[in-house]
């Protein structure tokens, strides 16, 4: 029989023909304070043994039950097997027998593979002490190192729980030098003052197993460190403000650079109205030179080309539209169009009864004309051409109602025109003598024309006073038809230019 320090071998198992069922009691294997403790609890509480005895065997070998000497005839319901069960690779089969006197009341067996069948390691005992600048955690390990434990297989964790911030848990992993036998202290600093901190310690094996955490122990971090904490808080606040300001400034600069804000107004100097002299002595606007102009608006009916090539078309009374190579019909602009497209122009000439005859416009007609002699040339042209169109198959592209225009039945618009803003030119032909605009003898004087009825008188005035209108040469910029009214007999269509009729200065 093999005898060990704490274990004595017994005979074969059949010396105790007990029920090998383990249903009579519950066996548990725990690691309490780094010690292997086997505990048991009877399921039938009516059976109360006076003392217990523990045996065990192993699976790897066919051996007899061995008696644990330290756990023979004990009244407690647990046994310390730290120095007995040391081989983690073995599967131990314990047997507990409960006695009352010399009679065995109950027996139960179990099997324990310490690696997996052991309850989570109990955490060690510890104390926490709060100081002015830190919290000290004093952990007490057992003096006896359990043989089943290995530093490589266990990692000691110290969990710091900060209750004030909603249960934030911070884990600390203290470095334990040597075996887990001696007591050690762990310092936790960098804490927030006036904050309640709770600490829990536990062992965590490297392999995934259950963890048994210790109960929390709490303490309030004393505000003795307030000065340093406040200094650090102040520095942190300053840094934060600086960062915020830097972000804001950089954002504003970026927006300004991309033109989203503070748009640049690089106006020319002439548009710079923010001069002191201007503010102090505001310049009065110049009086505009105004001339009265009557504009006769003629409603033209749009000519719809029906593409009828029949000979019975109405082209007899109308100017045969020129047919371009593309088959489109072009219509020349009449003199009416010239003034019509110009605000300062007038169509009055076109509606002048005196022009019906198609003769050269008389001075009276001219008197009814717009303004100064300057505009007269083209006005006469306009007039003549307008009636040339009538007589020479000049097609007014806008209306067939030439008569209406001649009758002067169109709308009339009267408005003032700054002669300085218009450009006139003289005719190049013989009619120039009649329509020769008067040279501005007094460039500073203005020509004022009021009513059409007074145009003659006004004209005279204008002629006497001259006009400021520049007298452009033949090479005027004014895009008026250059043909003289004397050319009215010609096919005006060919002479009519597709000009917009704008008067340019």
């Amino acid at each position: 029989m093999l005898l060990s320090q704490n274990v004595s071998a017994v005979g074969p198992l059949n010396l105790y023909p007990m029920d090998f069922s383990d249903e009579s009691c519950t066996l548990k294997m725990t690691l309490r304070n780094l010690q292997s403790i086997l505990s048991w609890e009877l399921k039938n509480h009516s059976i109360v043994p006076t003392h217990y005895t523990l045996w065990y065997t192993i699976m790897s070998k066919q051996e007899d039950m061995k008696l644990v000497v330290d756990c023979t005839n004990i009244t407690r319901s647990f046994c310390d097997l730290t120095d007995v069960w040391v081989n983690m690779t073995e599967m131990y089969i314990p047997k507990v027998v409960g006695y009352r006197g010399n009679a065995a009341l109950v027996s139960c067996m179990g099997s324990f593979f310490l690696t997996t069948d052991t309850l989570p390691l109990d955490p060690p005992e510890f104390e926490i002490v709060g100081f002015t600048d830190h919290i000290s955690v004093n952990v007490k390990f057992q003096s006896v190192a359990p043989k089943i434990l290995n530093e490589e297989e266990l990692q000691f964790y110290l969990a710091l729980i900060e209750e004030q911030s909603g249960g934030t848990v911070k884990k600390h992993k203290p470095q334990i030098n040597g075996n887990i036998t001696e007591n050690f202290s762990y310092v936790i600093d960098k804490l927030i003052p006036k904050t309640n901190y709770c600490v829990s310690v536990y062992f965590e094996p490297k392999d995934p197993r259950k963890i048994n955490r210790s109960p929390l122990k709490c303490t309030v971090f004393q505000p003795g460190w307030e000065s340093e904490s406040s200094e650090s808080a102040t520095i942190g606040g300053i840094i934060t403000l600086f960062l915020i300001a830097a972000v804001i400034i950089s954002t504003v600069m970026m927006l300004k650079r991309i033109g989203y804000i503070c748009l640049r107004n690089d106006f020319p100097k002439v548009l710079n109205f923010y001069k002191l002299s201007v503010l102090v002595f505001p310049e009065l606007p110049r009086l505009e030179e105004v001339a009265t102009v009557e504009v006769i608006h003629i409603n033209r009916k749009k000519k719809v080309w029906n593409y009828n090539y029949d000979d019975e078309s109405d082209s007899d009374n109308e100017a045969a539209p020129r047919i371009s190579a593309g088959g489109y019909t072009t219509h020349g602009l009449t003199g009416r169009l010239c003034p019509a497209s110009v605000s300062s122009a007038t169509l009055e000439d076109c509606s002048d009864p005196a022009a019906e005859e198609g003769d050269l416009p008389e001075p009276e007609a001219d008197a009814e004309a717009l303004t100064a002699p300057g505009p007269r040339p083209w006005q006469s042209e306009c007039t003549s051409r307008g009636y040339q169109g009538r007589g020479n198959l000049l097609q007014d592209p806008f209306s067939e109602e030439d008569s209406s225009s001649t009758e002067g039945s169109g709308d009339r618009i009267v408005f003032n025109v700054d002669l300085n803003s218009v450009c006139v030119r003289a005719l190049e032909d013989n009619d120039d003598s009649e329509v020769t605009p008067m040279l501005p003898s007094r460039p500073e004087e203005t020509v004022v024309l009021e009513d059409p009825d007074e145009t003659e008188s006004n004209l005279l005035v204008a002629s006497g006073e001259g006009t400021q209108l520049p007298f452009p040469g033949p090479s005027a910029e004014c895009p008026w038809p250059e043909d003289a009214p004397s050319d009215k007999s010609d096919t005006s269509e060919s002479d009519v230019d597709m000009r917009d009729g704008y008067v340019m200065r």
């Binding site: 070998k61 690779t89 067996m109 099997s111 593979f113 690696t115």
Partner: protein, 208 residues
């Protein structure tokens, strides 16, 4: 269905790169073999523990000493490759035992399948890393073998032989007991013990 050659050319390089990338990710980093083995071995060990609530005490009488060859990894300073080969042999033999279909009524099917999958994973890890190591260090290995032979030290393959004998005893035990419930429980406990034994030696792989 015809594929445009231009499309193939355009897609070839991205597909190749993607394949290499995916392969690189999925492939095992053999530098972390010890981590993988430790994790997988522990997982298999836990599965064996959960397959049965507790060892039936009545089967204790039929227990047998299978004599796990613990000396192969304890006393000497084995090479890393020797440890890997021992792991591989152990995994292969254990997989061969648990792949049999004679214990359907003993344990739950799902637990058994999990054990088989775990062992298969372990085998794949070891196969890949052993092949890589063999390609890289083939010359060095030959030199080491020559030295071992000249010095009279045991050839590293002896550990594999011991392991094969060990598992052969287990297999013969099962056959002798006619794959009874108690026989399977005893084998389950024994192989779990073997797993834990090898689990401890993954630390040797890390140190090396």
């Amino acid at each position: 269905m015809s594929v445009d050659p231009d499309v193939i050319r355009k897609c070839m390089w991205p597909v190749c790169l993607m394949g290499l990338f995916v392969t690189g990710i999925l492939s095992l980093d053999c530098n972390l073999l010890n981590v993988h083995l430790r994790r997988v071995t522990w997982h298999n060990l836990s599965l064996l523990s959960r397959m049965s609530k507790s060892f039936p005490i009545e089967c204790l009488r039929e227990s047998k000493a299978f004599e796990l060859p613990q000396e192969i990894l304890s006393d000497t300073q084995p090479l890393t490759r020797d440890i890997k080969e021992a792991f591989y042999e152990m995994s292969r033999q254990a997989f061969h035992i648990f792949i049999q279909d004679t214990f359907k009524s003993t344990w739950e099917e799902k637990h058994l399948r999990q054990v088989q999958i775990g062992l298969d994973q372990q085998l794949q890890y070891l196969e890949q890393c052993l092949e890589e190591e063999e390609e890289e260090n083939e010359d060095m290995r030959e030199m080491a073998e020559d030295e071992w032979t000249q010095s009279g030290a045991p050839v590293p393959q002896l550990s594999n032989l011991e392991l094969r004998r060990y598992f052969n005893r287990i297999d013969r035990f099962l056959k002798d007991k006619k794959y009874s419930h108690c026989a399977w429980e005893i084998v389950r406990v024994e192989i779990r013990r073997c797993f834990y034994f090898f689990h401890k030696f993954t630390a040797l792989l890390r140190r090396k």
